[in-house]
């Protein structure tokens, strides 16, 4: 399971590539993202859904 370091706000632990993408974009404080899903990137969508 992944966890988040309080001070740096950075995650660590086991996670899939999609979650790692979502964590990086969260750390970069990006604005709204625009897209349409397909099977390949769904772990990324899932990470967005569980962090919302």
């Amino acid at each position: 399971m992944s966890e988040t370091d309080r001070a740096s706000n950075r995650p660590s632990g086991r996670m899939n590539g999609g979650r790692a993408m979502a964590e990086m974009l969260r750390l970069a404080e990006v604005g709204p993202m625009f897209g349409m899903g397909g099977f390949q990137l769904l772990p990324f969508y899932d990470a967005l859904a569980s962090s919302a």
Binding site: S12, G17, M24, E29, F34, M36
Partner: protein, 532 residues
């Protein structure tokens, strides 16, 4: 972070691109394997040509089965490669954070631009044990420009000497001024040295359009700027590529006028016009250095150029007088100049006007006045695709939630993106969309009128009621056939912050009167050029 489903990935790329223009932070979008990825092409080229930081993600095939006729498989990376500044293909789950950090650095460094991050299915679905250190990001790379570079000191001194000599210098500004956020530096130099400022469509807002030193748009369309360029004895070109539209297909400026070119991308300097002095560097930094180099003699320079500076508001007033019949026109259908005048009146200083690739962009580029410096006019002049207006408005509205956002688009451009009205409504955006309804692919029809003696082929659209369509889609819709309805319609659109408003403005169907530069039947057609 929020993620919005769009109905066409072209919209996603455009919206991300517009978001980046308003915030100077990379806009983000994604497309799935194959058609999702290839639909990103147009928006990414817009970003590439306009210097916009965008990070686009594309899903790709599972590498265990690639190139065995996987569904939706194509050479998508090759299709997208020339559309972006860099393609980053992620080959290991473990390297996702590192390569995303790289994407931000490429998108925001030097001349900013779009980056494609191509992610195979197995990389996205696969897992890895990450450490917190894996997620390191350089905060300076999260906005453009990531870092600034100053032009060579000796070059600045030469440029300053040249400007100091000039009796009628002029500053020509392009879209680079926005990326560099060089507004204050530009205003300081222009005011201290009494140098008027002309802008391209992308450069509008470099200084307020209503500033006494602003001479407006130059190039293909111009109020007074082109005449001033012809009479200038020194030109300072800032963040501008001097491409076809800015130079009237390379006729302007005359090669005899010494030109100082301040530009962030070294190889753009001298590409179209040989400069007398090349200043390679960030626009803001270069303008600051020029202002410093000239500071000591500023008072003398202002005194010597007092008559020149005083000429500008006088000439602008004379132009306005001459244009008043059009600007104040009460004719039905609505005159485009009158529509622009009403936009000037209705839109407050902080608002953003997004202009689509058809006529709407040219008319507003010429006649719309920004009231403050900054990103208040957003035309998609990187690639000039039609269809940018509505998605550009979506991106701008999300980037500046407090500001009124108006997107002006042709009917053909709007038809292209009609489905995205659903996106805008779902996102609850109080965006105003002005549809310039001429029941035609107007620019094409005007060209067929001028060059092909009125033989119209595939340039007519069927009459549509876009206000009714908007209402059926749960948005507000107003049809405007008389110009006197415009103030109320625009005010209503700007005030409604909970849903999109479509203002369907009925304009001329006469192809002889569609182009901004002409208002009669004598369009000038020159060999080897297109009519303006």
């Amino acid at each position: 972070m929020s993620h919005f489903l769009i109905n066409d990935e072209r919209c996603g790329a455009f919206a991300a691109e517009a978001y980046a223009r308003v915030t100077n932070r990379p806009g983000v979008c994604d497309g799935t394997l194959g058609p999702g990825a290839t639909n990103l092409v147009t928006g990414l080229v817009e970003a590439l040509n306009a210097g916009t930081p965008v990070i686009a993600f594309a899903g790709d095939t599972n590498r265990s089965h690639s190139w065995k006729n996987m569904t939706q498989e194509s050479r998508q990376v090759e299709i997208l490669r020339p559309a972006v500044k860099e393609v980053i293909r992620v080959e290991q789950t473990a390297r996702v954070p590192e390569l995303l950090a790289r994407a931000f650095a490429v998108a925001t460094s030097g001349r900013a631009g779009p980056v494609l991050v191509d992610v195979p299915e197995d990389v996205c679905h696969g897992s890895h044990d990450f450490t917190a250190e894996d997620f390191a990001l350089d905060p300076t790379t999260l906005q453009a420009p990531a870092r600034r570079i100053r032009p060579d000191r000796a070059d600045v001194a030469r440029a300053a000497a040249m400007l100091a000599q000039a009796k009628r210098p002029l500053i020509l500004v392009g879209g680079g001024i926005h990326w560099s956020q060089g507004y204050q530096a530009l205003l300081k130099l222009a005011e201290a040295q009494a140098i008027p400022v002309a802008h391209t469509m992308s450069g509008k807002g470099a200084i307020p359009c209503i500033h006494p030193l602003s001479v407006g748009l130059f190039g293909r369309y111009s109020r007074i700027a082109n005449e001033l360029i012809e009479a200038a004895d020194c030109l300072l070109v800032v963040g501008c590529k001097l491409g076809e539209i800015a130079t009237k297909r390379y006729q302007l400026p005359a090669r005899s006028v010494p030109l100082i070119h301040l530009e962030i991308l070294a190889e753009e300097i001298g590409r179209c016009f040989p400069p007398a002095v090349a200043l390679w560097g960030d626009a803001r930094a270069g303008l600051e250095d020029l202002a410093d180099a000239l500071a000591e003699d500023a008072r003398t320079a202002r005194a010597q150029r007092a008559d020149y500076a005083a000429e500008i508001p006088r000439r602008m007033a004379a132009w306005r007088e001459e244009a008043s019949a059009r600007l104040d026109s009460s004719e039905r259908p609505v005159h485009m100049a009158r529509l622009c005048r009403e936009l000037n009146r209705a839109l407050p200083a902080d608002s953003i006007l997004v202009a689509d690739g058809g006529f709407a962009g040219h008319w507003t580029g010429l006649l719309y006045d920004t009231k403050t410096a900054g990103r208040h006019f957003i035309p998609d002049r990187g690639f000039a695709s039609i269809g940018y207006g509505l998605p550009g408005g979506i991106g701008a509205a999300l980037a500046a939630p407090a500001a009124p956002v108006v997107a002006i688009t042709g009917d053909a451009g709007f038809n292209m993106m009609l489905g995205e009205l659903e996106t805008a409504r779902r996102a609850g955006l109080g965006l105003t969309i002005v549809v310039v309804n001429n029941a035609a692919s107007g620019y094409v029809k005007a060209l067929q009128y001028a060059v092909f003696r009125g033989r119209y082929q595939s340039s007519d659209l069927v009459e549509m009621d876009y206000a009714a369509i908007a209402r059926a889609m749960g948005c507000a819709g107003v049809r405007v056939e008389d110009p006197d309805q415009l103030p109320a319609a625009l005010a209503a659109g700007i005030t409604d912050r909970s849903r999109p408003t479509v203002i369907d403005v009925i304009v001329t169907r006469d192809p002889a009167r569609m182009l901004p530069a002409v208002d009669n039947r004598t369009i000038e057609v020159r060999e080897g050029d297109r009519p303006a």
